[in-house]
Symmetry: C2
Subunit: 255 residues, 2 copies
């Protein structure tokens, strides 16, 4: 039987706990190659590195070779992994396990999801996996979910340009009440800047903010997670708002 | 009559030629505040700055106060402009004029478009404007288009969460054959990495690539631009692939 080839990446960096769990679990269903940023790259969105050269180092964890560290973004890691570091195109790319939720508006800021997006652009099916807590270090159930959903993707395939964005609540496995398809919520941040003065009397600003949930239907990603279920949202990158094209035809667009 | 309040930003940086043209043209329809990155931030995607403080400098161009320079991304500039630098929320945000096209897959890498996305997340209507050439310095017609489309947005409004992504071909005004609504194409890059060795004998990689156009319908952004027309695509950030939810319900998602 052919062994599946799996590329694993993340945005918390190659030394994060979530990617260690992910490699462990996915090694049970295939041969895993890790290509991940050397340092944390959270909230980088879908950035790619054009103005600097990329460099690669071989990284050990627990005394063994673990993977390739790259001085770039998660999207850079996917590009470089597929084009230069792996002999053949992988069968799937799995990104994570992210520390913190990637639901609602977070999806567009997320480096974790952008790695999966880069993957489907390169015609490799992809899954992004997040644990919806900034503090819990127990990635074990999220790892099992990542393995099962990856298995299903390898078995069934995904439509062109589609990835699965998975969010796992940080609770014990026997409290989980299901794994369900969802849609992206409209939740966003109630933000402010904390304005301060540095020791040289110059002003600087820190971004701060609280998450707001703005829609409460039972099939919304954030709502599902609040209800102790794992959320699985199919995501694509045709951003066209089709239902507005007709209205736009009536506008006087030419100067 | 109330004067419109307009926030202008970009990703080529506050000293780029395109943003000078944009401020000039939009000053004819309102009061313009410029908040833009101090240095070039192309291909940053929808990055925001969480790990560093943001700083602001006042920038002069041609001997007059021009705007606020920020050591962050285009999305940072929009957040900071609205929350800290402007007295009231602007009526519209216009991002550009970008040097180079933001069509098809480029939309998801684009700092120019991400500024407009951040704007609609904050409930301010937005327009992103690009000149589809990396070399032409004649932004005058693109500036006129930006002004006219901004006028229409101020008159008609936009649906919640929708921005307009405008791409202007780099040709003379009298060769332009129209300004038309379009949808995002599937075009992407045929990419490779140029692998080199530095003077210290260490390997590094440069990303290189050629644009490919992959769909040729007459309402595709890239096709419209090739046909000497201005492309206007309504864009939104609900990334859910709705038509795959039913299929996903049949999968065995739980481990």
């Amino acid at each position: 039987m052919k062994k599946f080839s799996i590329l694993v990446t993340n945005d918390d960096g190659i030394f994060a706990p979530g990617i260690l769990q992910l490699k462990d679990d996915l090694s049970q269903i295939g041969v895993v190659t890790v290509v991940a940023p050397i340092s944390e790259k959270s909230a980088v969105g879908h950035a790619i590195t054009l103005s600097d050269p990329l460099r690669v180092i071989e990284v050990e964890r627990n005394g063994d070779f673990f993977g390739f560290g790259v001085n770039g973004t998660p999207a850079d890691c996917v590009k470089l992994g597929i084009r230069c570091l792996m002999e053949n195109k992988p069968d799937i790319i799995v990104s994570g396990i992210n520390q913190g939720s990637n639901t609602a508006i977070n999806i567009i800021y997320s480096g974790t999801v952008s790695a999966a997006a880069e993957s489907v652009i390169m015609d490799v099916p992809a899954v992004a996996v997040s644990l919806t807590s900034y503090t819990s270090k127990d990635f074990s159930y999220a790892g099992k979910v990542a393995r099962q959903i990856s298995r299903e993707v390898l078995r069934n395939g995904l439509p062109e340009g589609v990835l699965l964005n998975v969010n796992v609540p940080p609770i014990a496995e026997d409290e989980i009440e299901g794994v369900v398809p969802t849609r992206q919520g409209k939740g966003k941040y109630d933000e402010a800047f904390d304005k301060r003065t540095d020791p040289n009397n110059r002003t600087y600003y820190w971004l701060t903010g609280k998450r707001m949930i703005l829609d409460f239907d039972n099939d919304i990603d954030d709502v599902v997670v609040m209800n102790n279920k794992v959320s699985v949202t199919p995501i694509h990158y045709d951003l066209t708002r089709y239902d507005f094209l007709e209205e736009l035809n009536k506008w006087k667009l030419a100067p």
